[in-house]
Amino acid sequence: MAELVALPGTATEIAAAVRRGSVSARSLIEIALARIEALDPKLNCYTERMAQRALREADAVDARISAGIDPGPLAGVPFGVKDNYDVVGRVTAAGSIVNRRLPRAERDAVLIERLTRAGAVITGTHNMDEYAYGFTTENAHYGATRNPHDPDRSAGGSSGGSAAAVAAGLCSFALGTDTNGSIRVPSSFCGIFGLKPTFGRLPRTGTFPFVHDLDHLGHFAGNTADLAAVYDVVQGFDQGEHACADLPPSPVVPRLGEALDGEVAKLGGWFDDMADDQGRDAAALVAKALGARGRTTLPGAERARAAAFVLTSASAGNLHLETLRSRADKFDPATRDRMLAGALLPANFILQAQREREAFRTEVSAAFSRHALLIAPATPCSAVLLGQATIRVAGTDLPARPNIGLLTQPLSFVGLPIVTVPIRNGPMPIGVQLIAPPWREDLALRAAAHLERTGIVGPCETNPC
């Protein structure tokens, strides 16, 4: 068997090499496809591989270069998308079999269109928890995605296939979604970088919803420069998405070297109490490196998490009510039972949860009047074993699958932009959340770039072969 070749550099380096003609897009995509062919049977990242489309698009990039046409800032860079993004000609399964009756997508999701125009090359769709309802990517229909650092462990979820594919070098970056932590949890478990922008920043046109007022799009990459380069390509209003803010793109790549201004604080209280020693140490390391002067707390975090938990279940039950009535047996049992329970909740719970969100938003705004950036661990522990029933949190054994998002749920509940950075301070990596005020993705990305330059965070090597 021929030796498996790694992609020759980061996304930014690959694109630069393709643009100057040092390497062809086709040869790069052939490397990516060979890695997928060899490694995906062990990791189960992909729900569909798109070799023919990838080679066709790579050839188109090479043709543009030959013709002297700018191939775009991400020329020849291989990427993948979570199974809930529309890809033209394909049914968007969103990790389910219920969706198989839906029509095929007539066009790509808007973010995929923007990336393709920028020269990036899609290689396939990635495994996820059914309908994005989970934190471990243990999918009853498509199997579990395995963590490239330890195949007995979860890649996190719900965007686990995407995170594992990036961590294993099957693609240079990947698009995911984050409703309650589904980018930040897999980033943490797989030891890579993730960005969940402000709610309303990226248009969700052409993606399958989970919870309308909590769903965010975002992405994974192996480093901050790649995270920022992709972010700059996908930003911008789209009129097909009602919750998307009509803001002009705010490029971050030119600003990555700027110093971080403003006070940094580490989040205590809930975010300390619900983390383990590894997560607390990682957050402390990051906070110190960013010059954090103190700690602050968000006393409403526990209630915000509870409210997000309740609203998620109710919204999912509402969205899928018709299929829960007619084809409940086709759902993953873990998803079905939670959605059915959510559909039965009293209205009083839902109204109180909505009011709680407004109260927490006010509390968070006050914190950002004092601080430019907040720091917290991303997960209560590093990657759990596949099938692990419980995690130890604050001295108590809690069911693993619903509680892995304890530290992410309160923050996405109010739509904050967050970058997750990886720390390798234990047998498995763990992530730290860099939490910025609304619309200030640049602050979180600049902080991540500073941490990388100073060697505090960086890619966590895997050996999935």
């Binding site: 526990e302 209630r303 509870a306 409210a307 938990f309 309740v310 279940s313 009510l321 829960l324 009535r325 409940a328 047996d329 049992p333 079905r336 039972d337 939670r338 059915l340 329970a341 959510g342 559909a343 039965l344 909740l345 719970f349 109180q352 949860a353 909505q354 009011r355 709680e356 969100r357 407004e358 109260a359 619903p402």
Partner: protein
Amino acid sequence: MLMTEQEVQLLAALQNIEIAPGHVPGVIRNFAVLVQQAALLFDAPLDVLLEPAPVFRP
């Protein structure tokens, strides 16, 4: 709070959902978790003027 199978089926019937008997224990278990979480929301009183209406800003 654990509901009985009969209570679950009554609530479900309000929304024209028929829950298969085999699915009921899982629904009861998840409903209990949701009730436990929802209880936290009523621990601290919220300002009566606090409401989540969307606001148009010029």
